[in-house]
Symmetry: D2
Subunit: 303 residues, 4 copies
Amino acid sequence: MNTHTPDELHPIGFIGLGRMGTAMAQNLLRHSIAMRVYNRTAAKAEPLVAAGAAHAKTPEDAVAAGGVVLTMLADDAAVEAAAFGRAGFGPRLGKGGVHISMSTIAPATAQRLSDLHASHGSVYLAAPVFGRPDAAAAAKLWICLSGDPAAKQRARPLLNLLGQAVLDFGDSPTAAHVVKLCGNFMIAAAIEAMAEAFTLLEKAGVNKAAAASFLCEQLFASPIYRNYGRLIADVHHNEVLFELILGLKDMRLVRQTADTMHTPMPLASLAFDRLQSAAAKGRGGLDWTGLALGARDDAGLPS
Amino acid sequence: MNTHTPDELHPIGFIGLGRMGTAMAQNLLRHSIAMRVYNRTAAKAEPLVAAGAAHAKTPEDAVAAGGVVLTMLADDAAVEAAAFGRAGFGPRLGKGGVHISMSTIAPATAQRLSDLHASHGSVYLAAPVFGRPDAAAAAKLWICLSGDPAAKQRARPLLNLLGQAVLDFGDSPTAAHVVKLCGNFMIAAAIEAMAEAFTLLEKAGVNKAAAASFLCEQLFASPIYRNYGRLIADVHHNEVLFELILGLKDMRLVRQTADTMHTPMPLASLAFDRLQSAAAKGRGGLDWTGLALGARDDAGLPS
Amino acid sequence: MNTHTPDELHPIGFIGLGRMGTAMAQNLLRHSIAMRVYNRTAAKAEPLVAAGAAHAKTPEDAVAAGGVVLTMLADDAAVEAAAFGRAGFGPRLGKGGVHISMSTIAPATAQRLSDLHASHGSVYLAAPVFGRPDAAAAAKLWICLSGDPAAKQRARPLLNLLGQAVLDFGDSPTAAHVVKLCGNFMIAAAIEAMAEAFTLLEKAGVNKAAAASFLCEQLFASPIYRNYGRLIADVHHNEVLFELILGLKDMRLVRQTADTMHTPMPLASLAFDRLQSAAAKGRGGLDWTGLALGARDDAGLPS
Amino acid sequence: MNTHTPDELHPIGFIGLGRMGTAMAQNLLRHSIAMRVYNRTAAKAEPLVAAGAAHAKTPEDAVAAGGVVLTMLADDAAVEAAAFGRAGFGPRLGKGGVHISMSTIAPATAQRLSDLHASHGSVYLAAPVFGRPDAAAAAKLWICLSGDPAAKQRARPLLNLLGQAVLDFGDSPTAAHVVKLCGNFMIAAAIEAMAEAFTLLEKAGVNKAAAASFLCEQLFASPIYRNYGRLIADVHHNEVLFELILGLKDMRLVRQTADTMHTPMPLASLAFDRLQSAAAKGRGGLDWTGLALGARDDAGLPS
């Protein structure tokens, strides 16, 4: 049994201090987890250093041999660079080390990283999360976990401080990433469904707000439909909780993963095209609910 | 103010005694609503007659001048025939009469019926419902209502005996039907989204049951995702709660309505094609969650 | 054997004097075919009357018992009204009469008309055409023919004066209409294919005119690709040879026919949605190559 | 002016001896072009060595400094490996050398190769071809060319021996590849269009062979429609002229290129999904006209 508090032997490394990463790191500091933090733009580390974290100058500098490091970075390339690029942490992490990888990345990238870690004696854990920055700050993330059993046992006390639940999807270094991509795809699909439905309601002269409220809050009775549905019914996409261009990246990963698995996903292609079109029209900086504007455009409604 | 209990002046007419209609009529009888029932296949009326309803030989025979009649029939043609076909109830219903139309039909059909009723002095109320037979039996339907205000006031006491909520979408004879079609479309879209996602999970070797459970019950936290998601993850479509061929009919109505409104709905077309393909493959008698088999077929998985 | 020249016994009736119908009727007059012409807007009959045709005041007035009548009207409703609406020609045509129906209409409508004719002793021949007004004027239409063998034999001498070839698709009153719809669908599909390809070329900075010319005139080496391809590459859709809104109507008929046959046609739905969106954006009066604007819009290119 | 016959100074290198490459190399030998040939599976070089070519043991061994090398390989990875992988020809080719790249590859790959060549003083020419092995054998290929003007001038005499026409798309190292991908996409789109149309004809009981012949040979009057149309109407996909799995690869390149250019191409996604589904169903080894089986499957027709 794991009798010690979370990884008391070493400070952990924390790499990637965007809105999500900073909120998560703050939660760990709040529980007195010793931490060395790194971000490419160093200024973003300041609030955490003020809260007690040590500042690392490179990814390598953030980790200790045999230690634990969390990454919360923007995309596959950033994770690969931090782990095994110049001054990457992978080689130093070495034997007994654990890389808890919490970004949304391709299963294929995860497999590559897992193989590289294995060649250094370290372990790759897939631990992507669901939740926006407010959920991260409230330690209400859903964390999908998969990978080596012993490493999972070591990671759990830390992950428990970050989320409302940790879901275990087995021993592969990729499974949790597939689940994460499926979840984001299902949300994008729900956005498109609401977009088409609410456009039809508006064109038909029905009270859109009332209908949307009923459909999302009573019929579907889902927080996702409720929260997204309001924004779509109000055509309100300027408050950016998750940038459209990142949603496009995620749907790209879904399509690439589906391709690898010989799985046609026409609805994923539809969602991808909606986001791609939004980007082409200069809407890449909107919240990703801006996906919904495509249905309005097609129907000749103003956006 | 409406001081009398539900339509105490006349027995109401109830037309259409399939699984849904029978369950609804039983609920009304349970509350001592006097009723004349009609069904094309007369045998289906027997349980209700045993419970106290009068048996009508024709739709016309089910109604009283100025009374109230509910229809719960399979499709647009059946409603039009019952109301204004041979021995239809429309002419007799006449001045002051109210037709509470609870089937899922096209707004265009509702408008036609409303115009015909108007020419006889009667009123058409749109009152389509969400819920499967078990919800009908438990008086847990969601009832979408729109139409003439006075008629709505008269209908409400009856409708309150049938559902957990009556949602008012204004004074048009079509609005509630648009909302109903949007709801069914959104459910079909969710089925397709789950079908593609769960197919990808299976092809990727992920624990599909665990992932589906997390995605539907925790992430989406929606009864619709939970109930449909289990059937889709289990590839279990033989227990028929809503026949696939009826789902196909509903998506046809969605497409026709969208066409009338100049509203492209590519996701509705995708769902329609999935159901159409299922019908072409001989699966029209499955539960409509069989829509999900298309994604499996495309990916080369057994069904 | 048919020894007499085209229907010398009676003047034929010609109903529907739009651009196509007028050009066709002129060709028949040029070959001294006696003719009674009808058009809802009577003024359109004047040039033909000047050229020797008799003017009919109603559809009925255009036909003789046992004679031949051609219809070249805008849509299904217009053909049904002319044949069996108020003052329709069907009843008078009667025993031995032949209705040569040259508009693009639904096979289901053709079947209904065929049944009605049969009940009056007359025969319905399907004879839809390919070709724009210039081809009609030059008697270079392609005429697809199907229906009763004896009626086809009687119609052929007339049809030979109108087209470069008459293609026989058997004895059913619907087959030629299915072929016609398939042809229009294939052209719409080619427009969408060119639209997407040329958009990609433009976004990639490739010489679009040169590439389009090679692809259409050399690789595909097809008059359809050449003629449509130039308009699409030039984003030139204001010269109306076939109105977009009529193309939308035709794709609607394709979808309805496919529905009847339980045949999913996702590419037909894509083409339909492009035209529907164009109509919603106020482009219904453009040439139907304006279908191609959808791909440009989606890619953020000006239109 | 280029007064010497094709590249008389050096033997040229020819890399990639599949069905296409072998037919092309034979044509060059027939015109007494001195040649060093390389193929990963060495046995495939034997017929060419018998016809007078020299056998190279590595890609590097096939080229001379400042010389010309043609590649006709299966995919992007193979071209990159031959040029700049282990024993790649790139470094030896060096200053003044020209790489004529005739495979169907991504513009992005071409740009990478062009940059690598530039760093060695050599030049990358894009020269992908249209035509199947029989066209290659008859020197009837269409060759799309783009890149450095002087290198194009040097390549032309060779290319003229291989094709019926060489089309110049300007000075970029990528443009000709974009044109090639657009052409293959347009062919795939035409296959899907025919597949849906012919499926509808069959379901409607129309004489499919007659209708297909009219539509392809008369209405479209295109060799591509005629040749592909017969195979599709006959459901005959076992004679492999271009393997389905390679068509899937090409549509993948189309989608990737469209993604780079922010260009939604829903029809390309439909074609891609059809091919992906075929691969998932074990049809990857059919001719790529097997794309057409998807529409049949969806309509419940046997394949």
